[in-house]
């Protein structure tokens, strides 16, 4: 064991200086943290959406046809997809959707393409192969194929991962991949003529499959653009990750979240007169509001009048989007004059939606702002909120000319790197850019998933939800309750309420919508109480108690019909009880089983439902999720 001692100093502009030391031990070698990623992970984890071109794979056009042999007698065919990586990583395997009646010995191959764009003139070098065993007729579904030996991948090279279907039966769809590359960093699929599918068939197929060189263009029956192959990679990340608990905030001297907050619940940019009403319903923090501009004095007066019972993450930028960012000095002196204010200011709001303004505020600009804050006050963490397009992995609004999804994803990652806590203003119940209607609860979980993805699970993600009806009758309080649970189960470690009702894109007609909406206010007050009662568990790292699940609603299968109802879940402990939080994450009813081996034979409480559920001796908890996005909170006695 080696002890590392750090000595640091801070010197002001007049030469006064102070120093401090700290130590940490390093011990015998242990593997760095591994970060895992797959191209379809968010789409599959949070359920897919109606509009596949942007938001996820549809399974709606997968009728019986793709499950039939391609010809009679059947011909073998090799199905694959082409992808690249944006940083060195290791290919570990893939998921593949097995067609129900696909049979025979299945082998997967990873090739390196001789050209960046695979085509008839390209050739492939085999980098690895892995048997997926022998398939038989069954219900079909996703299969995991883990390569015995991971393969190192590097940027600038095209890779092809595929399998040989002996009987020519395979699952496909014409959509999933958009006309442009999709990036789930570091993976990116290569959109070749609106798809990523590559195939090889005919007599040339060898036993392990022939390098696929036939680019699949849309639309082509049987060929399609997607064969439901989901490449998986991992890389070593030496920096610590964030999996939960408040210890993360111990990095800052002014924040003691466990005692101060329980579970952080904030309201975004509420006007000063309304602050006491939010506090009365359990909201602990104000996000935004500047002490220096506009009605800054009103905020300061309101905070003082409340005895600083509400914490504040003030917004320091004047909104100019310029580099003239230096209001921290005044706030620091205000805090020096007023200890109550100093205790209440728990962090800073760096910026709001830098990716959703034109022109975008560059990561370099935000880093300059961070520097300006830190050089005056580094006792407090910094929060940054993203715009909605980040959730959907789309959008070039305000971005540089020629930006690609690679560009945008790289920017999102850089912005995430500027802050200590991140969130995203994605009000998914109503989106005027979505011509097909509202998104739904699944998008709130996806919001958290994407934030965790772009930050590589290195920092807390706070979920944002609108607590108002943005159009007539939608969302209603119950919708918002489900959305909040979707975010919590997906790993949100804080909650920010957006309580402005919009008249249109640019006009806010009600700055305290929830306060003027008794049903919404009552629901949220009750929900905050419930969240705080579970605060320790909601903040804890996931226990991984659930080893598998099934859902009876396989209307989609996930292939076939419409959507089906996947279940997403989290398992946590508060030190006294274990909990499993589960939710149907697509519209529809279903009966689900959750395999929880350590709960075998137990009768568990279902919170807020005045009932219990008995887990089978085999550790299977069976329950009904009777309505859209039904949520159950199971507690081990």
């Amino acid at each position: 064991m080696t002890t590392h001692t750090f000595t640091g100093s801070a010197t002001d502009t007049m030469g006064a200086s102070a120093s401090d030391t700290a130590t940490i031990n390093s011990t015998a070698s242990a593997p760095p943290r591994k970060v895992h990623r797959s191209l379809m992970q968010n789409r599959l984890q949070w359920g897919s959406a109606v509009d596949t071109s942007l938001r996820g794979p549809t399974f709606s056009d997968a009728a019986a046809e793709p499950f039939l042999p391609r010809s009679s007698p059947p011909d073998a065919i090799t199905l694959s997809m082409i992808f690249q990586v944006r940083a060195p990583c290791r290919f570990t395997g893939c998921r593949v959707y097995k067609a129900p009646n696909a049979t025979g010995a299945i082998s997967f191959t990873l090739w390196q393409s001789s050209t960046l764009v695979t085509g008839p003139t390209s050739t492939g070098t085999v980098l690895g192969t892995q048997s997926a065993g022998t398939w038989a007729v069954d219900g079909g579904g996703w299969r995991q194929v883990t390569f015995a030996s991971p393969v190192n991948l590097v940027p600038g090279v095209s890779y092809v991962i595929g399998f040989r279907s002996i009987d020519g039966i395979f699952a496909y769809t014409q959509w999933v991949w958009n006309a442009q590359d999709t990036v789930v960093w570091p993976l990116e699929n290569k959109a070749l003529f609106e798809g990523s599918g590559v195939r090889s068939d005919g007599s040339a197929n060898s036993a392990t499959g022939t390098y696929p060189e036939t680019v699949i263009t849309f639309p082509q029956n049987h060929n399609a653009t997607n064969y439901y192959i989901d490449p998986q990679v991992e890389w070593d990340e030496p920096l610590p990750g964030y999996t939960g608990t408040n210890t993360y905030f111990d990095q800052w001297a002014n924040l003691s979240l466990p005692t101060r907050y329980g579970f952080p619940v904030a309201v975004f940019l509420a006007d000063p007169p309304y602050l006491p009403a939010y506090v009365a319903m359990g909201v602990q923090m104000l996000m935004g509001g500047s002490p220096h501009t506009g009605n800054g004095q009103e905020y300061l007066d309101a905070m003082a009048a409340m005895g600083y019972s509400m914490d504040w993450w003030p917004y320091l930028d004047a909104g100019s989007g310029t580099s003239t960012f230096n209001p921290t000095s005044e706030l620091v002196q205000l805090m020096a004059d007023e200890p109550g204010l100093a205790a209440a200011v728990r962090g800073y709001l760096l910026d709001d939606e830098p990716d959703l303004v034109a022109p975008y505020r560059s990561p370099d600009l935000l880093r300059a702002w961070v520097n300006a804050i830190r050089q005056k006050d580094s006792l407090r963490p910094i929060y940054l909120g993203f715009g909605r397009f980040m959730t959907r992995n789309q959008g070039f609004f305000g971005m540089p000319v020629g930006a690609s999804m690679q560009t945008v994803n790289d920017l999102w990652r850089q912005w995430a790197g500027c802050a200590d806590v991140i969130g995203c203003d994605d009000y998914s119940w109503y989106d005027d850019n979505n011509s097909s209607g509202n998104f739904g609860v699944w998008a709130y979980a996806a919001q958290i998933g994407r934030l965790r993805e772009i930050s590589d699970d290195s920092k807390p993600v706070w979920g944002i939800v609108e607590t108002c009806a943005r159009v007539a009758g939608a969302p209603v309080p119950e919708d918002i309750r489900k959305a909040v649970w979707a975010m919590l189960i997906a790993g949100a470690r804080g909650l920010i309420l957006f309580d402005h009702r919009f008249g249109n894109d640019f006009v806010t007609t009600d700055f305290a919508a929830m306060l003027n909406d008794p049903p919404m206010k009552a629901m949220m007050t009750t929900l905050i109480t419930r969240i705080q009662s579970l605060a320790t568990a909601l903040y804890a790292a996931d226990l991984g108690l659930v080893t598998a699940y099934t859902s009876s609603n396989t209307t989609a299968g996930p292939i076939g019909g419409t959507f089906g109802v996947p279940i997403h879940y989290a398992s946590r402990s508060d030190g006294t009880h274990e909990y499993v939080f589960a939710q149907g994450i697509r519209p529809g009813a279903t009966t689900a089983t959750l395999t929880i081996p350590s709960w075998a034979g137990l009768t568990v409480d279902v919170l807020d439902e005045s009932r219990t559920v008995t887990v089978s001796g085999g550790g299977v908890l069976t329950d009904t999720f009777a309505a859209d996005y039904t949520t159950h909170l199971y507690r081990r006695p």
């Binding site: 080696t2 001692t5 006064a16 002014n254 921290t328 005044e330 620091v332 961070v370 050089q375 580094s378």
Partner: protein, 249 residues
């Protein structure tokens, strides 16, 4: 025969208008202008009972270039039957102030809180004041609407004298507070606060890195220069000037 033009640039602050200007009432809704009276030396005018209730007053030249306005009267809606004193300010604005209006009470108890790079002023409100004018060394510094102000443009080692004047809704000013003097003593400089923290807090594996974070603040609001070193391993600088990564190998 046109009346002589009034040289407004020469008007001192808070000087009543005298002369032969025409006064008009403008109906805000229709921009219709109605001749009210001719000022003949007092600078006061009575608004007739038939004036629109939302009228405002404008001061006009009586020249051969009609439509050359001196400026709009800011302030309250004109009350019919009230007498107004017209005031042209040196910045070119003019106001109509009821003759009955009184200046605000003077602010009191001006207190200075001196830091090495700022002087904070706070005072007790004057009755009827809607804003305050802050003077430093007899020179107007700024207007504020609260009863405090921080002068951050000071130099250590210098002495400054401050006073505050209340201003009413009609722009009338009170007497000034008593002067208060501040010596910005360099010895007031407060030593910065620093607290180094490591995350994870206790130990890491050789293959991992720790985040070393310098928590620092200067209560005077000065910018801080941060430095960090370690005896074993190497530190990797980041884009954040207060954050380093420890590579223990």
């Amino acid at each position: 025969m046109p009346a002589p033009r009034i040289p407004i640039v020469d008007l001192p602050e808070q000087t009543s208008i005298v002369g032969t200007d025409l006064l008009v009432v403008q109906n805000g809704a229709t921009t219709k202008k109605m001749l009210m009276s001719v000022l003949t030396g007092t600078g006061e005018v009575s608004v007739g009972p038939d004036a629109p209730t939302d009228a405002s007053i404008e001061l006009w030249y009586d020249t051969d270039e009609p439509s050359s306005a001196l400026g709009s009267i800011s302030g309250p809606t004109v009350d019919t039957g009230e007498s107004y004193r017209l005031i042209m300010f040196s910045d070119g604005t003019c106001r109509a102030i009821p003759v009955s209006a009184e200046p605000p009470g003077a602010p009191t108890s001006l207190t200075l809180t001196i830091r090495v790079n700022s002087v904070k002023l706070s005072w007790t409100a004057g009755s009827g004041a809607t804003s305050y004018r802050v003077y430093r060394d007899g020179v107007f510094l700024t207007s504020v609407t609260t009863t405090k102000f921080r002068d951050a443009n000071v130099t250590a080692g210098q002495t400054y004298t401050y006073s505050v004047q209340a201003v009413s809704f009609y722009g009338l000013r009170s007497a000034s507070t008593a002067d208060q003097t501040a010596f910005v003593d360099p010895a007031l400089n407060v030593t910065p606060y620093i607290d180094i923290r490591v995350w994870p807090p206790t130990s890491i594996a050789l293959g991992n890195r720790a985040i070393v974070r310098v928590n620092a603040i200067d209560v005077d609001g000065q910018q801080l220069a941060i430095a960090l070193g370690t005896d074993v391993g190497s530190l990797i600088a980041t884009a954040d000037p207060t954050v380093w990564y420890l590579d223990p190998a």
